[in-house]
């Protein structure tokens, strides 16, 4: 691959139009207008956007990324998106009802996450941020397992080794360097570039972060390391246009996918509201990584349709028009229209999935309401692998202190007030 085309996948090298469509930002300092256009081309995401399903639900082809996808897979991805959205909405209402301390909504980002998540193989590893409920779903983590973090009973209950998904990371960008290290380990253990006949012979890592995160040193350092070690890591940036109140142009003056060129690996912008494109591009990128070609950056161009979290007030910084425009590009709606129009599914299927979603929501809610409080000794457990005498002494003293309240007729569970 020649350097001029590093912002594109290798198969597009022979495509004549590559340079015509490349934004001016790559060659000379862009004008303010070009910056805004490139960063926030809110209708299409720019000329380089990979799309396979239009907002109107029309299947379109792409010279580099077309995929064969069975009707069964299409139905499954529709189901994935509907179910995870429903769980997400239930998370929001549980927070409003005081059952959760906070909820981080995924609304609008279902296609980006399900596409990427379904491209991962069981032996791959995912390093998430904190909004990756759809990725978790694809890794076999039941949505109820997310609840502890937001209800405040744990910091994540799933086993990263068993599920192939790290715990949620709250400090922005931290996970990108960890993902690179993990991917280096996959490579050092000989798990890249092996015969394609055994699909389990190769592994890759995918890490998820936001557009705001790209300003952090850790994300930059992760990309530097990944490139110099050819680590099999895919950087999956969900550009949902906002970092709390700050728009993408507060973080960058070039479209984010173009930054990959500076690190020496391909960067691709995909329509993050198009589950087919997200799947296709992610598959391609993971295959690049698995085959030993090194890292890829994917910018999933999408939109955060809800507030940043349930503690945020998006009306202070965001125009309603913008939200309305993006609603027309709803990731679930466009797949539904396509599936119905092509008679891949009938209304019965749509209703069935909706019923299943309601059942999930009920189960999710009941689980939340029935969660037990962690016992006080949980505070001291597993601080170290080797038990610390200091922590053990503090635990014993604290439990002893609590039992004093029990003698005085107080409640030993939780509150000592």
């Amino acid at each position: 691959m020649s350097p001029e085309h590093w912002t594109r996948p290798s198969r597009s090298e022979d495509r004549g139009h590559a340079d015509e469509t490349a934004p001016a930002a790559t060659s000379a300092a862009p004008t303010r207008e070009q910056v805004i256009a490139g960063l926030r081309a809110t209708s299409e995401g720019g000329a380089d956007l990979v799309q396979l399903l239009t907002p109107e639900g029309q299947r379109v082809s792409h010279p580099d990324f077309d995929i064969d996808i069975s009707e069964q897979q299409l139905r499954e991805m529709y189901r994935d998106m509907v179910l995870i959205r429903r769980a997400d909405r239930e998370g929001n209402s549980l927070q409003r009802q005081g059952q959760l301390g906070i909820w981080v909504p995924l609304l609008g980002q279902e296609a980006a996450q399900i596409g990427a998540g379904r491209a991962l193989r069981p032996q791959d590893m995912a390093f998430p941020s904190y909004r990756e409920h759809g990725v978790a779903w694809c890794r076999g983590i039941d949505p109820t397992e997310l609840l502890g973090i937001f209800r405040g009973t744990d910091h994540g209950s799933w086993d990263p080794n068993r599920t192939g998904m790290g715990l949620y990371t709250i400090v922005i960008g931290n996970q990108c360097v960890n993902a690179t290290g993990y991917a280096m380990g996959q490579k050092f253990e000989g798990m890249v570039g092996n015969s394609d006949r055994d699909p389990n012979a190769n592994e890759a890592t995918m890490t998820f972060f936001g557009d705001g995160a790209t300003s952090q040193g850790d994300v930059h350092e992760g990309m530097v390391w990944a490139s110099v070690y050819d680590a099999p890591v895919v950087f999956f940036c969900q550009n949902n246009q906002w970092a709390i109140s700050e728009p993408t142009e507060r973080q960058s003056r070039v479209p984010l996918y173009e930054r990959a060129r500076g690190y020496g690996f391909p960067g691709i912008r995909v329509d993050g509201n198009d589950v087919l494109a997200s799947l296709a591009v992610s598959k391609w990128a993971l295959d690049e990584a698995r085959s030993g070609n090194g890292p890829v950056l994917i910018e999933a161009f999408t939109y955060r349709m809800d507030a940043h979290t349930t503690s945020d007030d998006a009306t202070r910084y965001r125009m309603d028009d913008e939200l309305q425009a993006w609603k027309l590009k709803d990731p679930i709606e466009r797949l539904r229209v396509y599936l119905l129009r092509e008679q891949i599914v009938d209304q019965g299927f749509i209703d069935e999935v909706q019923n299943e979603a309601e059942e999930l929501a009920t189960r999710f809610r009941e689980f939340c309401l029935n969660m037990s409080e962690p016992p006080p000794e949980r505070m001291f457990s597993a601080v170290y692998a080797d038990e610390s005498p200091v922590v053990a002494a503090q635990r014993d003293e604290y439990l002893d202190y609590l039992s004093g309240f029990a003698d005085a007729g107080h409640d030993t569970e939780g509150s000592v007030r």
Binding site: G101, I170, V171, G173, G212, S215, S245, M379, V383, V416
Partner: protein
């Protein structure tokens, strides 16, 4: 460092008014920005949103985007750039969104900010203020409730402050901004909405002094930040058992003004040091060690400490047990009195 004069506080009034701590901090920034065009406010979401706690609310609207900067999402960038701006004569006031997010900027604070003056032997000053909402008690997820102040108190060249009430918030932050030294300014986030009367014409203490808040004869409580209110409440409750507790608000964690604590201990003979942070190698260790040394013959009991634990901050359902509360403070008082 000149104490700010009352006439220039700008924010409308010299009349007494009831304010929250968040408002006091906001008024402090506004006042310094009005009298010194070199004062900048910078951080994530501090502009249009007014900060996630709304402490910078309205400042960008009134002072513009070049005085109140919504920065890229990078703490090393915020602090590193603030150092450069300070070298150019500006006085940046940086907001770190939550305690747990200061660490991407830790290197800049420790390697550059704290050493600039010493390394250049005074030729370069770094008047940077870093505001950090800190501590627990708000039911948040990981990294939003930590008390990392001891890490900074350990670094030579930094001043470390913590306010505990709206009036101090108003004065101490102005003094911090006026100081030519770098200041780490810890704000007890769970006290942001607590109110007090501010009389802008009343006298105020220097930010480097600790303050005796309550007199008593039984024992001394020394504390700071969010635990000041807890200790005052404990002192009120202690009267039911016939105990009169003195309460000292340390205010300045580095340098420590231990004079008022020592005087108090000489009166009461007993000291309990209280903070939310893990106890090992902390501000409370420092106070205990020095008072033990200075007041050995006045002490009737070993200095007690009430802290969080030497564990990572727990999930929020457990934080009530982690955070010292009135009962844990009184328990330590009882143990001290039992000697």
């Amino acid at each position: 460092m000149a104490a700010p004069t009352v006439e220039t506080t700008g924010s409308g009034t010299t009349q007494p008014q009831t304010i929250t701590m968040a408002k006091g901090l906001n008024m402090a920034m506004r006042a310094t920005m009005e009298r010194d065009p070199k004062v900048l406010v910078m951080g994530e979401d501090v502009g249009k949103l007014g900060g996630v706690f709304r402490v910078t609310d309205g400042l960008q609207k009134d002072f513009g985007e070049h005085r109140v900067l919504d920065t890229p999402l990078s703490e090393s960038g915020i602090i590193g750039a603030a150092i450069g701006l300070a070298m150019r004569g500006f006085r940046p006031v940086c907001e770190i969104q939550f305690d747990g997010f200061i660490f991407p900027g830790f290197d800049q604070i420790v390697s550059q900010l704290s050493k600039m003056h010493f390394r250049s032997q005074g030729k370069v000053k770094a008047p940077v203020v870093i505001r950090v909402p800190f501590g627990g008690g708000i039911g948040a997820v990981e990294h939003h409730s930590e008390s990392p102040e001891s890490l900074f108190a350990h670094i030579a060249g930094l001043k470390v402050m913590s306010c505990s009430n709206p009036v101090d918030a108003y004065w101490m932050l102005q003094q911090a901004i006026d100081s030519d030294d770098p200041v780490l300014f810890f704000e007890p986030k769970r006290r942001y909405w607590e109110k007090a009367e501010l009389d802008p014409t009343a006298e105020h203490l220097s930010m480097g002094s600790s303050a005796l808040l309550r007199r008593g004869s039984s024992a001394t409580l020394a504390t700071y930040g969010p635990m000041v209110k807890t200790c005052l409440d404990a002192a009120n409750a202690a009267t039911e058992d016939g105990n009169e507790l003195e309460v000292v608000d340390l205010r300045s964690l580095s340098p420590l003004d231990l004079g008022p604590v020592a005087e108090s201990v000489r009166r009461t003979g007993r000291l309990i040091v209280v903070s939310e942070s893990p106890p090992e190698s902390s501000v409370t260790s420092e106070v205990a060690a020095r008072i033990q040394q200075e007041c050995f013959y006045s002490l009737e009991a070993p200095v007690m400490r009430v802290n969080g634990f030497d564990t990572p901050y727990p999930p929020s359902k457990l934080e009530e047990g982690y955070l010292p509360d009135l009962d844990r403070v009184l328990d330590a008082v009882d143990r001290s009195l039992a000697y």
